[in-house]
Structure formats: structure tokens, C-alpha cells
């Protein structure tokens, strides 16, 4: 029998190990495990930070110590032992790198395996790369072009040294140290991430892109990203992640803060494919992220995310629509398979008059995974004529997964217009048979149906990412059907 049955598919899915589960052997410089004020001072010292930054970290640490790990999300996991994590790990720099030839060949190989070799990336028109391996940026390109426009795009550790006024002004202004347990932890121990400042009236001529990777086994990674678009500026920022396979859980708690000044616009796109754990649900990355943006007058912030990885995801890219006529958008695809758990969504906080927000969330659940959308739309009393449209669609495969929707709506202004639509559907036997009858095999049929389901979000991604994202969707769901 050459029939490709559901059972075959399930089998194949189970046998399918994480494609990018490999480990790059780079010499690392790692601090001892554990967290205390001494470690934080050591991190700050390694980063050659000014005193105010060290103090800021210590204050965050003290706040964090008094906080409790939240447990309201619809996920269950073993809480990390924060004293068993090493909070700093950097590839040992040999010398300043002038060209890609000087980059560690092991590292280049890693990128090739991921299909994102730097050589290729360099050829891609208009994509500047700031590659983060573990905690330290190894190579930054396209700096010259950016410099010409007065754009600052660098690792945050460099920004702290070279642009302290900007960092001091904005860091923690959107996600304060006290915001939540993981944001406080990040504020205390963050080691790298990106900083980007677009000056007044400048349209960034290229897509900015960063690849975050977790590399050192047992090392938590705490990225801190700060993006600022000054008045009338524009930038499209891309971020993509993938991680080597690990048995123990890896914690990732990033903070992203975005400031969009009057008449400015930022598009922030993420493709996330961290190791989701094996078919028994062992291992995988814990991804507890705080992402928030503030939009001033006539400003626009647009979040687009494709989430296919991580064992546990806890992530709500949010928009504070402070200015009149400000616009917030959230487009998301979250795919869960096997034992993955995702609790993700957004918050739209309407403060300014005529502020508008759009939420399009697509959840695809397969295997025994749990996929939750959690979204808040709040209209403050000041937000006359605020509008929101939310659409949450879930697609289920098989009968062992779960899809959940938790919409919260708080309207304190009578002129608000809030719409919420939600659908849940299942990939049907009849749809698969229909595709099969036309000569399309089941695997391809699922990819086709899922891509169709996710289209509204995929369309929002910049071209460079759209193709990669489609591939990721296919890889993540290969062989899953019910």
C-alpha cells in the first residue's frame, strides 16, 4: 500500500526532530551561575557601563527580588531556577572584525544551516544585519549608509557608551523596571540587544534586521531592544530567531521598547522559531517577552509576528496609543504543535482622540498543544471616537489540541467603537480529500490551507521574511493532521 495515511503523517511528525537543532562550538566567556548584586555588577563591568546604568540594573534587581513570578497565563511549566542560570555568556572576541572573512567560520556555518548565510544576506538589497550570537554582537554591517542618514543602529551596549543621553532618556520609559517579573529581571541582567534611533524626518532607506540566537547551553538570554522614531521618521525593523536543540529548558525574557514620536511610523516584524521541545514535550525555550510601543500624535506602530517555536510562549506586543489620531496594529500567527503552549496576544490602550487599532490574530494548533489568544482593548475616557477592530481566528488539527480566546474589553468613553470577531475551524477531511483529488498530497494540502488561513498576516511581512515565514509554517506543521 502506498497510501499516505493520517497515521503515516502522525508518525512522520513524531519522528521529525527540530531541523535547526544543532549547536555551534564557539569558545565562550561565561559568568558563574546564579544571580546576586555581585553578578549584576560584573555584567555591568564587562559591558564597560557607566555608573548610572549599573545603579539602574541594581535597582531593577531589588524590585525583581520583591516580585513573584506570574501564573495567570494559560500555560503550565516548571518554573525556572533563577540561581541555576548563567547570566552572561559572550563569544571571546579575538579582535575587531573588519569583514565577514574574519567572522568565526563555525558561526558562518551555523547561519548557512539556517539558510540565512551572511553572504546571501549581504546580497539582499537593503538589509542591514546586526547579528547577535548569545549576548554580544559580532558584526554590524551597512553602518556607513545608515550613518549618512544620521541613523543610529547598534548593539545596545554600544549605545549605552556612545549615546548615553538617548538611552537614559528612553530606557524603561515604556516598560518600567516595575512592569512585571520578567521585565524587572531583564532590566537587571540584560546583556545585549539592539538600539535604533531614526532622527526627525528621516525615512530609513533599508529594512533593519537582527537575528537573535541562543547559543550557550544553560545560558539565559536577556535582550533589550530600544527603537525610537523621532518626529516624522519611518523604519521597518525585522527580527528573527532560532535556537540549537537543548535538553534543559532555556529561558528567554526579552524587553522591547518602541517610541514613535509625532507623525512617525515603525513597523516591527518578528519570525520566531526557537526550539519547541521534542515530541514528548521535553526541552524547548521558555519565551517570556515584554514588548510595548508608544505612539504619539498621528503616529503609527505596527507589530507583525509569526510565532512557531518555543515550548512556552508568553508574549503580548502592545500599543499605547497616546497621541490623537495614533494608530496601532497587531498581526499575529501563532503555530503550536506537540506539547507547545502559547499564550499570546496584544494590548491596545487608547488614550488619544480618534486613535485606531486593528488586531488580526491567527492561531494554528496541532498535536497536543495549547494555543491561547489573550487581548486587551482599553479605551480611556480621554479617547473620543476611538476605534478598534479585532479578529481572532483559530485553526485546529486533530482532536488533542486546544485553542482558547480571552478577549478583554474596557471602554470608558461612550463614543468608542469596538468590534470583535472570532472563528474556530478545523482542517476537514473533506478539504484534504478535495486537495488530494486534485493531485495535491496531504502534506502540501495542509501547507496550502494553513498559508491561506494565515494570508492576511503573511501579507503584512516584508518580502524577505514572507518567504521564510511560509517555510517555517510548513516545517512547524509537517505531518500534523486530524
Amino acid at each position: 500500500m502506498s497510501k499516505y495515511t493520517e497515521d503515516d503523517l502522525k508518525k512522520e511528525l513524531e519522528d521529525k526532530e527540530y531541523e535547526y537543532g544543532f549547536y555551534t562550538d564557539i569558545e565562550s566567556d561565561t559568568l558563574p551561575k546564579g544571580l546576586n548584586e555581585g553578578i549584576i555588577r560584573a555584567i555591568s563591568k564587562k559591558k564597560k557601563e557607566p555608573e548610572w546604568m549599573t545603579e539602574w540594573r541594581l535597582e531593577s534587581f531589588r524590585i525583581w527580588q520583591k516580585m513573584e513570578e506570574p501564573d495567570w497565563a494559560n500555560v503550565t511549566y516548571e518554573k525556572p531556577d533563577f540561581q541555576a542560570i548563567s547570566y552572561y555568556s559572550a563569544p571571546k572576541p579575538k579582535k575587531e572584525l573588519e569583514s565577514l572573512d574574519e567572522v568565526d567560520p563555525e558561526l558562518l556555518k551555523t547561519f548557512e544551516k539556517l539558510g540565512i548565510s551572511i553572504d546571501e544576506q549581504k546580497k539582499l538589497t537593503g538589509v542591514a544585519m546586526d547579528i547577535v550570537v548569545d549576548s554580544v554582537s559580532v558584526k554590524t554591517t551597512f553602518q556607513e549608509t545608515l550613518k549618512k542618514h544620521g541613523i543610529i543602529f547598534c548593539p545596545i551596549s554600544e549605545a549605552i557608551q556612545n549615546h548615553p543621553d538617548l538611552v537614559k532618556k528612553y530606557i524603561g520609559s515604556i516598560v518600567p523596571k516595575t512592569d512585571n517579573f520578567y521585565a524587572a529581571l531583564n532590566s537587571a541582567v540584560f546583556t545585549d540587544g539592539s538600539f535604533c534611533y531614526i532622527p526627525k524626518g528621516v525615512k530609513c532607506p533599508m529594512e533593519l534586521s537582527t537575528y537573535f540566537r541562543i547559543n550557550e547551553g544553560g545560558t539565559g538570554q536577556f535582550e533589550r531592544t530600544l527603537l525610537i522614531a523621532d518626529e516624522g521618521a519611518y523604519v521597518s525593523y525585522l527580527e528573527g530567531c532560532t535556537a540549537p536543540q537543548r535538553d534543559e529548558n532555556q529561558l528567554h525574557a526579552a524587553v522591547v521598547e518602541i517610541i514613535v514620536h509625532d507623525n512617525a511610523e515603525i513597523k516591527y516584524s518578528t519570525v520566531q522559531n526557537w526550539y519547541p521541545g521534542n515530541k514528548e514535550g521535553k526541552g524547548g525555550v521558555y519565551n517570556f517577552v515584554t514588548k510595548r510601543a508608544i505612539a504619539h500624535k498621528n503616529a503609527k506602530i505596527s507589530w507583525t509576528q509569526v510565532e512557531t517555536g518555543s515550548a512556552v510562549t508568553w508574549k503580548y506586543p502592545s500599543c499605547v496609543l497616546k497621541g490623537d489620531n495614533s494608530v496601532g496594529e497587531f498581526y499575529s500567527i501563532a503555530v503550536t504543535n506537540n506539547f507547545q503552549q502559547a499564550d499570546t496576544g496584544t494590548k491596545m490602550i487608547h488614550i488619544g482622540k480618534n486613535s485606531r487599532s486593528t488586531i488580526i490574530s491567527k492561531g494554528v494548533s496541532a498535536g497536543k498543544s495549547q494555543n491561547s489568544y489573550r487581548g486587551l482593548v482599553r479605551v480611556n475616557s480621554s479617547a473620543d471616537n476611538a476605534r478598534n477592530f479585532s479578529q481572532c481566528d483559530s485553526l485546529l488539527m486533530g482532536d488533542q489540541c486546544g485553542a482558547h480566546t480571552f478577549p478583554y474589553i474596557e471602554a470608558k468613553n461612550n463614543s468608542a467603537q469596538i468590534e470583535h470577531e472570532a472563528t474556530t475551524s478545523k482542517i476537514g477531511e473533506d478539504q484534504l480529500f478535495y486537495c488530494n483529488q486534485r493531485g495535491i498530497d496531504t502534506e502540501k494540502a495542509i501547507a496550502l490551507i494553513v498559508n491561506g488561513f494565515s494570508k492576511e498576516v503573511l501579507n503584512k511581512l516584508p518580502m524577505e521574511f514572507a518567504v521564510e515565514a511560509q517555510k517555517l509554517l510548513e516545517i512547524s506543521l509537517e505531518g500534523s493532521v486530524g
Binding site: 502506498s2 499516505y4 495515511t5 477531511e429 478539504q431 486537495c435 488530494n436 493531485g439 491561506g452 488561513f453
Partner: protein, 245 residues
């Protein structure tokens, strides 16, 4: 081309087809008629390879080889096409994208390269014109929000694109008004050649005014109880099925 030998098949242990015998040669049009529940749609599903139905006895042979062990997509690659009675909707996937995927899947199975986009586009236009389809349908999500008639026309459009050896039209006339019926029938007739064959499954004689069959078979209670020429269809229209029981 197609031989069906003593075919028995059913669902969940319930036998629906109870020994079907049928031979179809290239260039022929066969009509299968019969009352509700006689097994017409089961027969088309079994030929296409729908695994909901289990074959318990007999064989289906295409070009001298049994196809019972082939998956539905493999059968499609061999040139079997089923125009569905109830075509499914696939949100977000345009008709153009769907048919492109289908054609290239078939070509891949046959060891051919992808169909060049330019030629594909040209063919899509030709076939859409043949079926007097508004081209805007091609960029809409497959069957989503289509009327019954539009869905059926879309089925025949796909048939035209895939150029099958054996086409099975399952109740293609249901949901079509008379003008649409003429267009669809005209399309089917134009696609007819000496190398392909068609099975038309229908309740009513109406469709057979436009797609003229070479043979008419009456299916009743899982068996073909009478076969004849096109005049049999008129007789059925006049007398109903009771006189045959």
C-alpha cells in the same frame, strides 16, 4: 480505459455498492442515473479513492492496472478527475494558486518541471473564457462565497486545466440554472476528445439534453440494473424508476 469489476464497497460495515460492473472506453460518455441513496456518489468517491469508503470485493482497473492501492492524489496523477457535488471552500487560497499547485503537483509526479508561469496564465485565461467565467473569480478564495452555480463552473474550470483522462461529474447540474447549465455542458463537450472519457452522474435527464451520453446506466440499491443508449434517459424521465425495480 476503466474497468470496474464486481465492485463491493461500503462505509462503517454497511454495504452500499453490491457488485458493480462497468467498462468505459476512450471517447465515451457514460451517464449513471438512479434515485437518492442508490450509491451514485459512493461510486464516484470509491473511484477517486476516498478512504471513508472501504472496498470489500472486486477491482477498479485503469489502463490495465488496479488503482485500488493508490492514494487519491496518485489516482489524480493518473488522470482521474472528480467534479464534486459539494465543492469545499479553502479560505485564503485563490483559485489560481490552487490550480497552479495542483498542476505542478501532477507534473512533479510525472517527473516534469513546473509549468511555466506565463503559459499557465495563458491557459487559465483560455479556459476561463471557455466557461464564460468572470476572471475576478480566479483571484478570489477557492469557492468561498461562491454561489452553487459558480462552484460547479469552477469545478469544470479545474477539469479543463487538469486535462484528465477520466472525468466524473457528480451531480454537476444541481444548483445550476438553465443558462449556467448550457455553459457548463458546452465546456464539457468542448473538452471531449477521442482519448478521454466522462462519467456523468445525475438525477435528472435535463443535463443529458446538453451532454449527450453514449450509454446510460441505472443504479439502484448498489447495482446497475439496466443499461442502454441515450433513449433510456428519456424513458426514465417519463416513467420514473419504479418500473425497473
Amino acid at each position: 480505459m476503466l474497468q470496474i469489476k464486481n465492485l463491493h464497497a461500503g462505509i462503517e460495515g454497511k454495504e452500499i455498492l453490491r457488485g458493480i460492473n462497468l467498462e468505459i472506453n476512450p471517447g465515451e460518455v457514460h451517464a449513471i442515473m438512479g434515485p437518492n441513496g442508490s450509491g451514485k456518489s459512493t461510486l464516484s468517491s470509491v473511484i477517486a479513492g476516498n478512504e471513508t469508503y472501504k472496498v470489500t470485493e472486486g477491482d477498479v482497473i485503469l489502463d490495465g492496472k488496479s488503482i485500488l492501492d493508490l492514494s487519491p492524489d496518485q489516482r489524480a496523477h493518473k488522470g482521474i478527475f472528480l467534479s464534486f457535488q459539494y465543492p469545499v471552500e479553502i479560505p485564503g487560497v485563490t483559485t489560481t494558486n490552487f490550480i497552479k499547485t495542483a498542476i505542478n503537483a501532477k507534473r512533479k509526479a510525472l517527473g516534469l518541471d513546473d509549468f511555466p508561469a506565463k503559459e499557465m496564465l495563458k491557459m487559465i485565461r483560455e479556459k476561463a473564457d471557455l466557461l464564460e467565467m468572470d476572471r475576478k473569480f480566479l483571484s478570489r478564495s477557492l469557492n468561498e462565497g461562491f454561489s452553487g452555480g459558480e462552484k460547479k463552473r469552477n469545478e469544470i474550470f479545474q477539469m479543463a486545466m487538469l486535462e484528465p483522462k477520466l472525468s466524473i461529474l457528480d451531480e454537476t447540474d444541481s444548483g445550476l440554472d438553465i443558462d449556467a447549465l448550457k455553459i457548463v455542458a458546452n465546456g464539457v463537450n468542448k473538452l471531449k476528445s477521442k482519448d478521454n472519457a466522462t462519467i456523468v452522474i445525475t438525477h435528472y435527464q435535463r443535463l443529458l439534453d446538453y451532454i449527450v451520453p453514449d450509454f446510460v446506466h441505472v443504479l439502484y440499491n448498489g447495482k446497475i440494473i439496466k443499461s442502454g443508449g441515450k433513449e433510456l434517459a428519456f424513458e426514465l424521465e417519463e416513467k420514473g424508476y419504479d418500473w425497473l425495480k
